[in-house]
């Protein structure tokens, strides 16, 4: 079956303007050559630190930004050229991070939810009935239609935002850190709701988050971004149990966990030094080589090729290329474990 969404060689560069006449003096490469595909009904995650380009990719897919290069094929049609208000009737909807600022404080919940329904040309009576059924789908009482955002808790507001996203009957929902502003006891409830809706409506999710533990529990496949490039993609099970790219390994090793069994699962990697470089001034070769504890000669020069590790698991690293361990003299992962132990 063909994928619902296919992203091919997607890039986005923002110009840097300087000087008296605002000439373009450089560019910020926020996203570079990102490709992935989402099957129908699949939940796919994009993870990375701030500045990794994950939100820029989300914005391009929903049509809030225009790609510099590449194609976004939805059901085989290219969405890349379309931006702006046509978004309301797109088969792609988005749930934003902060439910406090994504709802208009002067509109009642019912009025906010009616916007996408008006755009679809429904009459007043139809809208009222649809709002009630949407609230029911996100497990809120119908009376909430007459309330205002300030009367709702953070979790309730996020339920409204989800209801508004499904009002347009999308096939794909982009979730941009939908629970990062919520308490953990509420977060688990929202994730439950998203799982239920995904199953009952056959939704496909693109989940953007920096929270790897949450990723592990929600999506089927995950892609790890570093400075605008996918460094590793794979099913959550194999990516978390056998992370291959040094960045993925360090990132998983840095996640604070609550039990010894999780702690035992973490890769044996030293804590990362320094911070993610500016996307305006990217290192040559593999962008991670400046912080990578295993970097060797070719890393600073050539961009590594994508290596297939198993059926669906890919990574972009020189160390994983065939023959790399002989070129470097030892198997770096066991060498590391030995020196640390």
């Amino acid at each position: 079956m063909s994928p619902l969404l296919e992203v091919v060689g997607l890039s986005k560069a923002f110009p840097i303007r300087g000087g008296l006449f605002g000439r373009v003096t450089g560019q910020v490469r926020a996203v570079s050559g990102v490709s992935f595909a989402l099957g129908r009904g699949e939940a796919f995650g994009l993870a990375g630190e701030s500045g990794s380009g994950k939100s820029t990719i989300a914005r391009m897919i929903v049509g809030l930004a225009k790609p510099s290069e590449g194609a976004i094929l939805f059901d085989g049609r290219d969405l890349a050229g379309q931006t702006g208000l046509s978004g309301r009737s797109r088969p792609v909807q988005m749930v934003f991070q902060n439910p406090g600022s994504s709802l208009n404080p002067r509109r009642s919940i019912g009025q906010s939810m009616a916007v996408p329904l008006h755009a679809r040309g429904l009459s007043g009576g139809e809208i009222a009935a649809r709002v009630a059924s949407l609230l029911d789908m996100v497990q809120l009482p119908a009376g909430f239609a007459d309330r205002y955002p300030y009367e709702l808790s953070g979790g309730q507001k996020q339920r409204v935002a989800i209801a508004r996203a499904i009002a347009a009957e999308p096939q794909l929902i982009v979730l941009d850190e939908p629970t990062s502003a919520l308490d953990v006891s509420v977060q688990a409830k929202i994730i439950d709701l998203l799982n239920d809706l995904g199953r009952s409506l056959g939704l496909t999710y693109l989940f953007i988050s920096h929270d790897l533990s949450l990723m592990r529990n929600f999506v089927e496949r995950v892609g790890i971004l570093y400075l605008g490039r996918l460094v590793e993609v794979g099913p959550v099970r194999s990516l978390f149990e056998a992370p291959a790219h040094p960045y993925t390994r360090s990132l998983i090793a840095a996640v604070p966990v609550v039990s010894d069994e999780e702690s035992a699962l973490k890769p044996n990697e030293p804590a990362l030094e320094g911070e993610i470089p500016s996307p305006a001034n990217q290192p040559a070769g593999c962008a991670f080589h400046t912080r990578c504890p295993h970097a060797f000669a070719p890393c600073a020069v050539e961009l590594p090729d994508v290596v297939q590790l198993d059926d669906q698991h890919f990574a972009r690293c020189h160390l994983l290329a065939p023959g790399a361990s002989t070129r470097r003299g030892a198997d770096w992962r066991t060498a590391k474990a030995r020196s640390a132990g």
Partner: protein, 329 residues
């Protein structure tokens, strides 16, 4: 414990009054922070952890807040009995705070060195000391080095916008260290940062506790951060401490039903297993449940739970306030 802790909060209760209505926001909160220890106060939004922190620092807005009962002992002296002037002399000198948001806690129009110099001048004046401009700058460079900033001279000349989030968080820690406090209170340190940067900040705080003997009280909602960073932990729910103990022991054998439920809410890196929320919501503080405040949401609640539970010892250095500890073990 043999020596008295540097900070000891004793049965603190705080009410908030508005339009003649009383909200019982804190009820009988007790906690100890000894020197050389990293203590975490953990709980969800609205549990009272920030109110506790503000009461300790003496920055609760009163009204609406009113301290109903209890004591806050700092080095043996009850802070609640000090005059406003005596309190002011301690704040920012013997006890200092690291604020949460590195994006908004710095003034964007002054350099880091100017802002730190101003804090130092103010602290010196309160302590009746004098220091030359050059000596102040030397001290600023010294603390920036202590928080492991590369090139402190350049950082001191920089404006906040020129620094990354992680560096700004380090500057906020350096500001708190300027007048050599003995107690540091950190509000969600590194919470706004990426995990790799957050790990660096927690390591820095750990070293300050170990090497300089600071007493550190950390306020956080992140259980993972507590387990990785703190020596002792206090779990708060709806204005009460429900469980406390040594971190390793409490995470290995959580006893209070709320602590257990909260741990089940945290998504696990190993996947699967337990990952579920807690039904219901926080009680109304103006009409709280008469006994255990978690009882209305607790799967184990019985009629005895309508009386307030006392903290009981479940093992060495591990206490929980629950009527059903025996049945839940």
């Amino acid at each position: 414990m043999t020596a008295d802790p540097l900070l000891s909060v004793r049965s603190l209760s705080v009410d908030f009054w508005s339009y003649g209505r009383r909200s019982q926001v804190l009820r009988d909160v007790s906690l100890d922070v000894p020197a050389h220890r990293h203590v975490a106060l953990v709980g969800e939004s609205g549990c009272g952890k920030s109110v506790t922190m503000r009461a300790i620092m003496g920055i609760l807005a009163a009204p609406p807040a009113r301290i109903a009962s209890g004591a806050i002992l700092f080095d043996g002296r009850d802070l609640l009995r000090l005059s406003a002037r005596e309190r002011e002399a301690l704040r920012g000198t013997a006890m200092a705070m690291v604020f949460q948001d590195p994006m908004t806690s710095l003034n964007p129009v002054f350099t880091i060195g100017d802002q730190m110099g101003a804090i130092l001048r103010y602290a010196d004046r309160r302590l009746g000391r004098a220091r030359s401009r050059r000596a102040r700058l030397a001290r600023v460079h010294e603390v920036l080095t202590q928080v492991r900033m590369p090139d402190p001279e350049r950082i001191a000349r920089s404006f906040p916008i020129m620094l990354s989030g992680g560096m700004r968080q380090r500057v906020l820690i350096a500001m708190a260290l300027l007048s050599e406090p003995r107690l540091l209170i950190a509000d969600e340190p590194g919470a706004a940062l990426d995990v790799t940067t957050q790990a660096q900040i927690l390591k820095l705080l750990r070293d300050l506790v170990d090497d300089r003997g600071l007493a550190l009280l950390m306020i956080t909602h992140n259980l993972g951060v507590v387990r990785e960073a703190a020596d002792d932990v206090y779990v708060m729910y709806a204005g009460s401490v429900v469980e406390h103990g040594a971190t390793a022991e409490l995470f290995a054998r959580p006893r209070h039903p709320y602590t257990r439920a909260l741990l089940d809410c945290v998504p696990k890196l190993s996947g699967g297993a337990t990952f579920r929320g807690i039904d219901g919501s926080l009680p109304d503080y103006s009409a709280p449940p008469p006994g255990c405040r978690f009882a209305p949401r607790c799967p184990l609640a019985i009629s005895a739970c309508s009386r307030p539970p006392e903290a009981r010892r479940v093992s060495a250095d591990h206490y929980a306030a629950c009527w059903r500890l025996e049945d839940a073990a």
